[in-house]
């Protein structure tokens, strides 16, 4: 992997892009990497990019590590490595965009990664079952497995410039009393990660561009935007029991996303865009709406 495990390049400098969803610890992971590199006496920078500032929505973060002062303030477009905390984001984002030939991909998944989804360049692929490790080591926040630490552990397998003990120290200082499980998960991921040299088969896609209209009025309805169909942000799905529903429209008026439609005299939830905030459930006077755990196939 160019620059990641080779010392012989003109300038030691790495750009790492992290992808995931709100709540998975993308920003924290980027910061831990930067702090660890800083502790190893490199110049380091960590930039978070929040989309909708909401649990479940796509989040990006960028880490730059360099021997020299870092003057860039922009995002990372040609990364040396991408860390993917959640393969679900690949549905709406080209996470491999701009990845350098010979670069690295670290991905948290329990399933096999097909070379059909990887870009047509030579890669070092690191696969780790982040969710599995988080569940085994009891690394949960608000009931959800936290995969950022396992992904860092896997990344360290192919990035020898940061010692795992340094990361352990940074994590211990950051999480204080709660750091034990994180440290265990870090080592477990480091040991169990699978490293492959591979060449992908996926051709680059055309980037979609939009034409501006004459007058832009800031009014909107749920349609496909930069985040794609936002229904996948959901952890819980509201379900209407029509035998109890009186069509009072309380849910319709309260839905913050405009994702409840009126259709043939009934309220209908648009699951393509409902983000599962469950406001409708709490405002329904007849308790006609219940919630179900979302399971994505």
């Amino acid at each position: 992997m160019r620059g990641l495990d080779e010392e012989s390049i003109e300038e030691l400098r790495w750009e790492i892009r992290l992808h995931g969803r709100g709540g998975q610890g993308v920003v924290t992971a980027s910061k831990i990497l930067a702090e660890s590199a800083f502790a190893e006496r490199y110049h380091a920078q960590s930039i978070p990019f929040f989309g909708a500032e909401r649990r479940g929505s796509p989040v990006m973060a960028f880490t730059r590590i360099s021997e020299h002062e870092i003057r860039e303030r922009s995002q990372i477009y040609t990364p040396d490595c991408v860390l993917i905390l959640d393969p679900l984001v690949m549905r709406v984002l080209d996470v491999f965009n701009g990845l350098k030939d010979g670069g690295g991909v670290v991905i948290s998944t329990s399933s096999r990664i097909s070379d059909e989804i990887l870009p047509d360049i030579s890669l070092t692929l690191v696969v780790v079952d982040g969710v599995g490790i988080a569940l085994k080591k009891d690394l949960l926040v608000a009931g959800n497995p936290v995969v950022n630490i396992p992904v860092i552990g896997a990344f360290l397998r192919v990035f020898p410039h940061i010692g795992i003990e340094t990361v352990e120290k940074v994590i211990s200082e950051k999480f204080k009393r709660n750091s034990k499980r994180s440290v265990k998960a870090l080592y477990s991921a480091y040991e169990s990660a699978e490293v492959l040299k591979i060449r992908g088969k996926k051709r680059a896609e055309k980037v979609y561009s939009k034409k501006p209209g004459k007058i832009w009025i800031p009014a909107s309805k749920p349609v496909v935007g930069v985040a794609g169909k936002t229904g996948y942000w959901r952890d819980f799905r509201p379900v209407i029991n029509y035998s109890r529903c009186t069509n009072c429209l309380n849910c319709w008026i309260h839905c913050p996303e405009g994702s409840i439609r009126r259709e043939n005299g009934e309220v209908v939830i648009d699951y393509d865009y409902c983000k599962g905030c469950l406001v409708c459930l709490s405002v329904c006077p007849r308790r006609a709406i219940s919630s179900e755990r979302e399971v994505f196939a």
Binding site: I47, F50, G98, W216
Partner: protein
């Protein structure tokens, strides 16, 4: 002295603590919220000895700061975007009241078209209030600027409030190395030049009829002129104290033999330096004039720095709608009336957090992009 990896907001909070601020009043708003969170944490733990007044709006936050300052305390607040706009009336008040409040502004666009990202339009649209305005390109500069701002604002020849502005998220939430110098070597404990004295009561802000008001405003304006001289001195003293060069009025980057100049402020100017280096490698004589202090506007510094330059490209991360970029206006106006002035072009970039890369500067200087509104993110 320790060096830490801090976000821009954390750098502000550390600088406020080390400047021994006495009163902080704020109503948090993205992206400046963590400034207030960090300070609240330090006040709570006893690490910082200050009174934190949480209020119901930014208008009240500034009012409380003005009151605290009149009472003789070193006062601080932080805000962004809609919050700064809501403060507008009290911004004027702080100026005429001559209260040297320092405020951190994490620059953000103003909606609707809801947008929390970097855009200097919020502070630029407050440029006529009489506040001193300083723009930063790195988190180190944010840390340094807070203390420097107090030095200038509290000077008896100035006595004006100052805002330290830094791009939201691009600096406010980005972690970078920051040297935490001991600011007590540079900034003394606060001793108010004038304060409300309960033993010797007086009316403050009383009616000022036409016979006096214009003179009062004239004095404010003169204080701005004097502030530039004080800034020069503060910049020098900062270097003497910490052996670290932090410009306060403007930075000249590779301008000496330049025939083309880029003018920029804030985080994007760091990207502009990369462009200057790349263009220089290809034999293009280009330099950067980075404006740190936008109010007072350093007219003479600008003319002197850009003397002999044939072409100037001014990059604004803001726009005065119906006109053009605010810095573009100022730079053009600085050269008005001079014989053989340079060609000056204006570019509007990076509104609402649109990413700005070094390539934008390179391509504009090379003539590959027309000046004007540049929306493309060029990688």
């Amino acid at each position: 002295m320790t060096e830490k990896l801090l976000t821009g907001n954390q750098a502000v909070a550390q600088a406020v603590k080390n400047s021994r601020v006495g009163v902080v009043s704020a109503y948090p708003i993205t992206p400046s919220t963590p400034v207030v969170e960090e300070i609240a944490g330090m006040v709570e733990s006893g690490e910082m000895n200050a009174r934190l007044i949480l209020v119901e709006s930014e208008h009240s936050a500034m009012s409380a700061c003005i009151g605290a300052s009149l009472g003789g305390a070193r006062a601080f607040t932080a805000t962004s975007s809609h919050g700064l706009a809501y403060m507008h009336e009290m911004l004027h008040y702080a100026v005429n009241a001559r209260t040297p409040v320092v405020m951190a502004v994490a620059n953000r666009a103003i909606g609707p078209g809801w947008n929390i990202w970097a855009d200097l339009s919020d502070s630029m649209s407050q440029r006529d209030t009489g506040w001193i305005q300083i723009y930063c390109e790195s988190n180190q500069e944010i840390y340094d600027s807070i203390a420097m701002a107090y030095r200038v604002a509290e000077h008896e020849d100035v006595l004006l409030p100052a805002m330290v502005c830094y791009d939201g998220f691009v600096l406010s939430h980005t972690s970078m190395p920051v040297k935490l110098d001991d600011l007590s070597e540079f900034l003394d404990e606060y001793e108010a030049a004038w304060r409300v004295d309960f033993d010797n009561p007086s009316t403050h802000g009383n009616i000022t009829p036409p016979d006096y008001f214009m003179d009062l405003r004239r004095e404010v304006s003169r204080s701005h002129e004097r502030a530039l001289k004080i800034m020069d001195r503060v910049e020098r003293e900062f270097f003497e104290t910490f052996s670290r060069k932090t410009p306060l009025i403007a930075e000249h980057y590779r301008l000496d033999d330049a025939d083309t100049a880029i003018v920029a402020a804030g985080a994007v100017s760091s990207e502009a330096k990369i462009a200057v280096d790349n263009l220089r490698r290809n034999g293009i004589k280009v330099g950067l004039f980075r404006i740190r202090c936008f109010r007072p506007f350093p007219v003479r510094h600008t003319i002197r720095a850009l003397d002999g330059v044939e072409k100037i490209y001014v990059f604004d991360r803001s726009v005065s709608i119906g006109s053009e970029g605010q810095m573009f206006q100022e730079v053009k106006s600085a050269f008005y009336g001079l014989s053989s002035p340079p060609e000056i072009y204006g570019c509007v970039v990076g509104l609402g957090g649109r990413d700005v890369t070094s390539m934008v500067f390179e391509k504009t200087v090379m003539g590959e992009i027309e000046p004007g509104w540049i929306g493309e993110v060029i990688v």
